[in-house]
Every structure is written in C-alpha cells, then in structure tokens.
Symmetry: D2
Subunit: 345 residues, 4 copies
C-alpha cells in the first residue's frame, strides 16, 4: 500500500508534537505538513530540539497538500478548521472536543459557544476503537476522545454494558501535568505543581458530559456520574479509580471476582491496546505507549466494584489513539506505528 | 511552667526524625533522648545532616530519663515499648497503630498479631484533638491517628455527626511517598515511584478499620466505607477526596452548599489547625505544617457531597499531631511548637 | 525591645512571599504592609492559601507606614522604590540586584539600564553577613546578595582570602526552579522542567559580575571566574561545585585536606548559618532554612580544590538572608526568626 | 539476513530490562532468553508489567541457546559470565566495567578485585562506535562504555584529538537516579532523592580511569581530569558540563567559536547518534533515545572552552549503545532498532 500524506494542524501543542513524534516513524505515512501560529517559518526541530536529526519539516501557517489531517486546535477553532478540511475532501481526526458530543446544546452549556456546524456532529464518529471500530473504519471525521474519558470509559464499559452495576458511578482521576497543555498557566508552573496534589473542576469538568454520553449509550440507560479530576506531579499519565455498586443480585454470586475478571477479559480479548491485568496498575507501566491497563476489583465487603485503569494521556489519551483511528480509517494495521513498548523506568 | 524532658523511641524513622525537628525548637520541652537500633552511638546530626548545628543528641539504644515519651516503632513492637513506659509512669503518645483500635480482635485480623496488652486499649485515647480533646487532656496514653484516617475523619466528621449523608462513603486518598517510611522497598525506590501514580491495598488497607471505627462512633451507626489509598510522586502530603450521598431530604434544601459550609465552619470554628477553605485545597498549602484544609462541595446535580481535605502526612498525619496531643496532655498551649506556617512554594 | 513595623514591596513574588512567611512569625517585628500590583486589594491569604489562618494582611498598592522595608521588585524598578524609601528615612534591604554592584557601568553592561541613583551604590552595603557584618550593622541600605553568589562566595571566600588557590575559578551551580521566579515562562513550565536538567546563560549570567566583584575584593587581586548555572528539577535549593587549582607551593604540604578543613572551620567558626561539613552536602539538608553547608575537598591527585556548598535559594539565597541583614541592622539577635531547622525529608 | 538469536544475562536490572524493551522490537534479532537470579521462573511481563502484551519470555536461571549475548552483571561477575560465553563462541557486549580498562591493575585499584581473565582485556574493544567503529565490527567482545564516560568522551574527543585544549579538564556531570541501578539503597530512596541535589564520589569515581584512559588515547598525551558526578532528582538523563582551557595560541584566533563549532561538526558529521547543537542542550531532548547532543562554547573572556553534552544514561549510556555495538558487530544497519525519537515532554 502506498504511503499517504498526512498533516497536523497545530503541531506545536503537546498533542500535536506527540503526533509528530509518532507519525515521523509510522511506516504507512509521510508527515508532510504541520502548522503552528507563533512558530510558523521555523524548523520544527529548532522549536522542538528532541526532533534534531529526526524531522526536516518547517512549521507552516497553512496546511499543505495532504490526504489526511489531524486537527489539534483549541475548541471552536478546531471545528472551523475541520469544516474547511471536510470541504476539501480530506479525512480528519479531530483531537479537540468539538465533535465528541452529539447534542449541539452541550457546546453552549459546557464550552460556551454555539457549534458552527451541528450537522457534522451526526457524521462524526466517537473515536474509541474498542467500542466503535466499525463506524470508525467508514468515517471521514473522527472525534478523538478526551484523555479522562478514554481512561474512564475503558474502565467501566464492560460492566455498564453487562448491566451489573448500579447507575451511580464515581470516577476519581489523577492526571499528569502535561494534560493541562503547553500554554503557560500558574497551575502548570513548576514550583506550583511540583510536590503538590489537588482536585479541580468539582463544579463540572468538560469531560463529564462526554463520559456520561458514552456510558449512557453503552448501558442503554441513564447513569449518574460524579467525576473529579486531580493534578499530580508527573508529566504524563492518567490513573482513574472508578467506583460503582454491584447490583444486589450480582453481588450474591459466589465467585464475583472471577466472574468480573472473566467479563473484562472477554470484552477486551482481541484488543491490542487494552490489557486486563492481575494487580493494581501503575501509570508508569504504560508510559509513552498506546496501552491501557485495566484492573477490576470486586470489594465483596462493601458490595462495590472498584476499577483502576491507566493510560498515557498524550498517547492513548490523545496522539496515539488518533493514529489508531487513522490506521482504522485508512485500512492500515491498527497497531501500525504504535508498537513501541512503554518506557520503564 | 518548667520545661519537661521528652524522648523519642525510634528517632531514626521519618516520624521519629520529624518529631525531633519539631521538639528541638519546642519552647516547653527539652528533647533529651532518642533511640534507634542501627544508629545507636552515632550523633543524631551525623545520621541526619539537616540537624547539623541544631541537635547535639547522640542516638541511644535505650531511652534515657524522660517525663514524656513518643513511641514510633513498627506495630506490635510499639505496644511492648509502651507497656514498659506505662509501668515507669511515663506519659506516652504512641505513633504506631497499636492502640488505635479498641477491639483487640482487629489486631489479629488486620495486623496479624495478638495484642500483648488488650487492657491498655481501654485506657488509650484516640488522639484526634478535634474530636477527643477532653479525653486526651486527662490521658496517660494517646494513640496517635494514622495519616490517612486523620485526613478522612476530619473531612467527614461534621456531616457524619449531623447525619446528613448516607452510610455509603468512598474515600480516595493520594499520599506522598514518605508515608511508606524510611525502610527501603521497591515501591519507594526513586526510579519506580517518580513519574508514577498507582492505587494499592484494594483488598483492605490497615487504616480502614480505624476510619470505620471512628466514623461509626461519630455518627452513632454503621458506615460502609470503601477506602483506596494511592501513591503519588511527591515526598509529603495527603489529599483525600471523599464521596457520600446526601440524604434525600437534605438534598432538597435550597441552599445546600451554604448550609454545608456553615456546618463545617461551625464544627471547626475554634480549631487552630483545621481550616474550612473556599476552594479545592492543595497539599502544598499545608506542606511542612500541622494544618488541615477541608473543602466540602455539594454536587446538587448528582446529590453527592464531595469533601476534599489535605494534610502533611508527617506533621498533622504523624509528628505534629503527636506534639499537639502532648501539648494537651501536658497543659501547654495546644499550638506550642507547631506555629510555623506551611512552606510554599 | 519594641517590635518594629516592617513592610514588603512586592510581596507576591517568591522572595516576597517567603519574606512574609518568615516575618509573620519573627518575634521582633510586625509585618504590617505588603504591596503587589495585580493582587492589590485581595487578602494575602486568598492569593497564597498556605497563609490561611496565619496572615490577616491585605495586599496594598502602596507601602504603608513602616520602620523598615524589604524591596523585591524587578531590577531598575527596585532602585526607584529604594530611592523613595531612603528619602522617607526608612531602612531598606533590597532583594534585587540594583545595589549589589559598586560600579554603575556594570548596570549598563549586564542589566541594560543606566542606574538611576549611582550615588546610593556607595552607601549600599553588600549584605553577606559572614563578610560584612560590621558594615551591615551601621547601614541604612543593604543589597541582599544573589542566590548563586551567596553559595559561590561562601564556598570560596576562605581560600581566596588565604591566597592558596590560583586565580582561575570554575563555579558549576545547580538550582531549583523557584530561582526563576513566579513569572510564567516556558522554561519553568512543569512539563518542560520536570525530568530535565540543563545548563544556561553560558554567555554570561548576571550573577557573574557580582561573584567576580566580591571574590576580587576578598582576595585583593583579579580572579578569572567561569560560572555556569544549571536548572535541575526541584523547587528549592542551590548546590555549587567550585573548582580551583591549589597554589603549587600549597599542594606540596603533607596534610592538605586537614589544613584546608581547618581554614574553613576557623573562617566560619562563629557563624550561626554556615556549617563546614565532613561529607559532600545535599541541598535537602538545608531545605527551608537559612543554613549553608560547605564541604572543601583537596584532590591531591590533580592538585585541585573542589568545594561544594549548598543553600536554600529562597532562604539563605533571598528572604532568610534579607532578614538576617535586617536583624543585624536593627540590633536584634542575628538568628531571630530564622531558627527553624531544615525540613527533611 | 536472517534474524539472530540474542540473550541477556541479568535482564532484571535497569540496563537489562532496557535492553529487553529495545530488543523485543529490533527487526534483526529475536530475544530468546534472559536470566535473572531472584526472578527465575517468572514471566518477564509479570515482573515488569510494562511488557504486558509485549514479552512472552520467562526469566531463566541459565542463558539459553543464543548467537549473541549481552551481559549486565555486577563487576567481576560479569567477567566470569563473559569468559564462559566466549568459550562457547558467542559474541558478547558486556555492559559492566569488566573489560573497559586495558590495564588489569586498574581493576585492583578501582574495583577491588583481581581480573580473572586479563588476557581478554587485550581482545576486548571499547565500544564507543564514534571512535572505534572499525574495531568493533571485527570484535567478538565489546566492552560497553560507562554512562558518564560516554557523555564526557563524546563531549571532549574533538578538541582533545585536535590538541587545542590544555591537559587540565574538569567534568561536572549530573545524572538521573536510575544510574544508581535497581538495587535498593538509601540514596535512591524516593523521599531522599526527590527535591535534592548532591555531588558524590569526590575521592574518585570508578568511571574516572575510563575517562582518563580514553582521553589520553585520543589526545596522545596525558590528561589531568577532575570528574565530579552529581545526583539530580530525575529518573533518566546525564548532562555533563566540561571545562578546559583553550591553548594560548588558539584563543587568539579571531573566530574561535566558529572554528570550534566547525571542528565538532566535522568530527561528528556522519554520526547518526551524535548531534552538534546550537544551544545549550537539555537532557529531556534525548530522553528515551540513543541520541547524544553536544554543545561547545568558547568563553573568550576567560579563555575557556565549555562543552555541554547530554544523553539518556540507560540508552546511549547503556542499552542503546550496546545494541549499536551489536548492530556493528553483526553487520546490521547501525541504527537498527534504535530509531525511535526521544520522548518529549
């Protein structure tokens, strides 16, 4: 199969530059163009010296001639870029939130803008391959999931689908600081974030409606989700600890733990990037890779299910999953360009 | 008031050496003795160079002549030390878990040993001054609370006491690595713990029965607690995020948030070391101090109460609280020796 | 002695807020005023929540009525503030570089501005108490040394003064990120600074002329200093590793190491805040304190002297030393308000 | 070309497991065997969960049937393993120091043991491909350089070879904590190493004779090297800052900086893994890769050359360079299996 030409709109954010790192060594594509406002005209490797000797690209102000595009703009701006690309007939994976929510009103409520192309919301596919692989394969526009939703949905999908937990779900997520992006902010200032842990967005994080939408869809009925994100002092990684009550009939089973482990193993049995593990996972064990480790634990004492999942927020939570989606949309091997193991220690 | 002579059994662990740091500048006491097995005979400042020019003490193998003792041994060994000290008529704050649980059977179940002096369990007072100040004042033996329980109980006590949350409580705690102690272990090895977050002890952490015991006592009825501790890459600090459903009658109130904030402010209104704050707190904001910051948030959308609390695990979670207890037991000002503000950044 | 009223110009930077932390518990002063541009009108404890329950102050736009002032403005702006305060007859410790260099031309060369009050440069005393205690005692204006110069000068002063090293001196310093201040910058962005070490300012850091000026003055002849600062991923601390050749006559002595250690011990024998230690020091061992640990090592194999020193850049390297200067200028005990031991671990 | 079968003696240390990570995806080899004492019999992915779904290997107690072996044992033990492998006719890259020094007496002096096979020292080639590529190609035994020497020698080789610096060389190196290995030690305990920087081994680090041997060989005359290693709080990375005086005739040249940059560019012009960069490099920019970034800076004010180099201590400083050596010894493309770019941020 011939290589396709791919481009990145906003290559200079953390998601964009992580896409570049992965695409530069992807066997099926040529990264031919990357845009970035303030860095336009500079060599990519001068702005990002880790690509010295790796990337020859110069940052552009407009995307060049490509077959496939990744858009990693701030919300609303992403939608405008995607609209232009769709008109040019270019397939797109959008890294922003602009096509994740199917109800246009959610954009007014959660993001504070009126969606500029609500008709595209119907055409966009939510890009979680473990749930929507077939739809992704035939899509022209894929909305790449948020980092927190990826970890939360993969953690809870098997039991929500099987209807063995009550509708009250608590998701307590811990994220590395790169999730806050490359834009300067006091909360991401080294001396503030180092040696510090905090919860934030208790009044409602923008990833909440995304989690609710998907878990509702999977389970076929309303879920009542509490989601509290936390910032922990590391660069990469998300660990989500999810809590739900097992249904009363289910909890009386004899071998709850074995049954639940079996449900998870069955659900993910063919997945190259989701591994059901036997011990509580560490974010370090997926660092730098597209892997998601999931560990379900039935606490029979309290009747609760606890599921711990972890991902690298910039890979499975952003750039890696976007490439996984591109692979599916383009007929490449799904793991193409994503096979490097996690880096430890 | 004359200064009293105090000693530390096992000054060479993190709790012990933190006690030394604080006691060396405490205006009402003289730290005259500290024991430590492997370091016995060495100058304390040679083993712990941060005390160069501060401490003249030599580590001993047996505690010298003291009026008051802190015991910071591993569990079971602590009990044996405490028994000897009590016989000598010395008042004790025990930092270990050996006198926290009132039911001796709990030691068999959770700690794997038969308690050597169950009769002392009745005499020991649980040393959380915000709840038991009066009992502490007249006690000869105080069991210093665990670090996780301190953060969890202070977070939930006001609402459990007021009966406005259901009995199902989830406590998701994040701790710095010093909580695992100074004993070498792979999980505390720098390259393993750095850039890593993980949950542990899902099957039941030893601090769970302590949390259950106290919340049950406060509320007067059984609670169903799920407690999941996490390790995050920082040296000091615990942040506990606690979840409970508000009772259905309570959630219908008009100004739930205001009412709950008022309950917390009333509960802690005279407390020197617990502050009810207006925004989600950061562990960094109590770093190095005996402070606890508590933030209750009523999520009316889901009917849940979320309470975030944070402490320095080695101060309010160990050495600082122990000194607070000593102050109360000895008739000193409760804040004596504990007034240094948190260190930021 | 009555308490004096002190104020801080620009309390909202890292040096300013560290001054506040220390002054709020200083037994001889009342912190009555602190200014800050963007935060003016807010309660200090709202901007800096670690001071919750500690500080009642509201940030002001103009300094109130004080007996003594600390100025912690950016360079050039500091000089303008100091001029106004001197006219009001208020004693000042200036934290900026504006009065450290005695030659006004150096400001044009190294800081890019013409000094607005060169006449004050003669009156200002360089505030390194270990060298200029007497002059500080009678000064109205003290220029608080830079963080790097404090560590480097204290490391080299004894041997430069004794003339036993050649004039070529290399200072390789490693600093925590708080040294770069609270102003947002990509280099201080968490995900950039974490898990990263780099050298910077090879073409000449602004602290170089300060180091050269002082070592020249101490030794009485020109020194040829190479100074390379580095950024390491921690919040606080500077470790300076200094290299100089021992004079050829000196290196032939039999007990070079013992002689040099003796020189250092004699030089610092009465110093409360400089400790000559017997093993290579760790920044952690002075963390949060006004201590400086110095370790001289004679490498007889190569004929070189290696001196390692460490300080907390925000305490002995800024706020703590400023208070030490104030203590001397005001006739307080030199250690007043600065006796808290370093915090470990 | 057929794949070769490779094995790792002691796969369970940090160098060994990093070899596994890289070899598992190497296109020209099959990793068929890995030994480890305490973990023998366990699945590699159970001991190192980051390899879940990547490695099928079980840890063995004896190396299986291989064509090529990496030995990563502690010193002296490595030599014994290598001797056995050489007898079996297996080509070896030894990661330990046991074959780096050509003078057997150095092992007595620096490592405290008598070398068990001094005759092999003559046959072993020092595995720095940038200097000894040809010899490596025909070698059966390659001694993989130490991490510090790799960074120091690559920094200084061009100017030492060209004879434009004096013989006095100072190397101030800063290393991440993984350099201290996976064996538990107080200095690598998280709470001790975090938020801490220190110098160590001032009396002489074991990598010093290796640096001296190689720089002497390159320059053809004796060098007088001072080498001080430092520990900084990060997992991976070494930054070496090297200082040497430019010869007096050379410093008088007009365009010293340009000339020196040209010398470095010429020296490394065909090197895939050494890049001469235009700004002071960051360890983060080579993180996880086999790259070395080198930045020479001529400080004309002092007549000194400052060279800053950085590598990932576990890749170019250990496992990556070992694979680079294997590639050369086996006739594979030198970059085979080593092309993944550094991971940022």
């Amino acid at each position: 199969m011939d290589k396709i030409k791919v481009g990145i709109v906003n290559v200079t954010g953390y998601a964009g530059i992580e896409l570049a790192r992965l695409l530069l060594k992807h066997p099926d594509v040529d990264l031919v163009s990357g845009t970035g406002r303030s860095a336009a005209g500079q060599k990519l490797a001068d702005v990002f010296p880790h690509l010295t000797g790796v990337a020859e690209l110069t940052v552009e102000s407009e995307l060049g001639n490509v077959d496939f595009a990744f858009v990693a703009m701030p919300h609303r701006e992403s939608a405008l870029e995607v609209m232009k690309l769709m008109e040019r007939g270019i397939k797109v994976v959008d890294i922003s939130a602009d096509f994740r929510l199917s109800n246009p009103d959610d954009y007014n409520e959660w993001y504070g803008f009126t969606h500029p192309s609500p008709e595209l919301l119907d055409k966009a596919v939510y890009g979680l391959p473990e749930l929507y692989r077939k739809d992704i394969a035939s899509a022209n526009l894929v909305a790449n999931p948020g980092c927190y939703p990826t970890s939360a949905i993969l953690a809870m999908a098997p039991v929500v689908k099987n209807g063995i937990v009550e509708e009250d779900i608590i998701i307590d997520s811990k994220s590395g600081v790169s999730g806050a992006g490359r834009t300067l902010a006091l909360g991401s200032h080294y001396s503030e974030a180092n040696e510090n842990t905090s919860a934030y967005a208790l009044k409602g994080h923008r990833h909440l409606p995304e989690i609710v939408q998907e878990l509702t869809y999977i389970g076929g009925e309303a879920v009542n989700v509490t989601f509290v994100p936390h910032l922990v002092p590391m660069t990469r990684g998300i660990l989500s600890t999810c809590y739900a009550s097992l249904t009363s009939e289910y909890i009386s089973h004899d071998n709850v733990q074995e049954e639940i482990t079996a449900i998870y193993r069955e659900f993910y049995k063919d997945e190259p990037f989701v591994k059901v593990v036997d011990a509580s996972p560490h974010t370090k064990n997926v660092w730098g890779s597209n892997m998601c480790h999931v560990y379900p634990f039935a606490d029979v004492r309290t009747g609760r299910l606890i599921v711990v999942s972890c991902i690298d927020n910039l890979v499975k939570g952003a750039a890696g999953q976007a490439i996984q989606n591109m692979n599916i949309m383009s007929g490449f091997a799904e793991v193409s360009g994503l096979e490097a193991p996690p880096i430890y220690p």
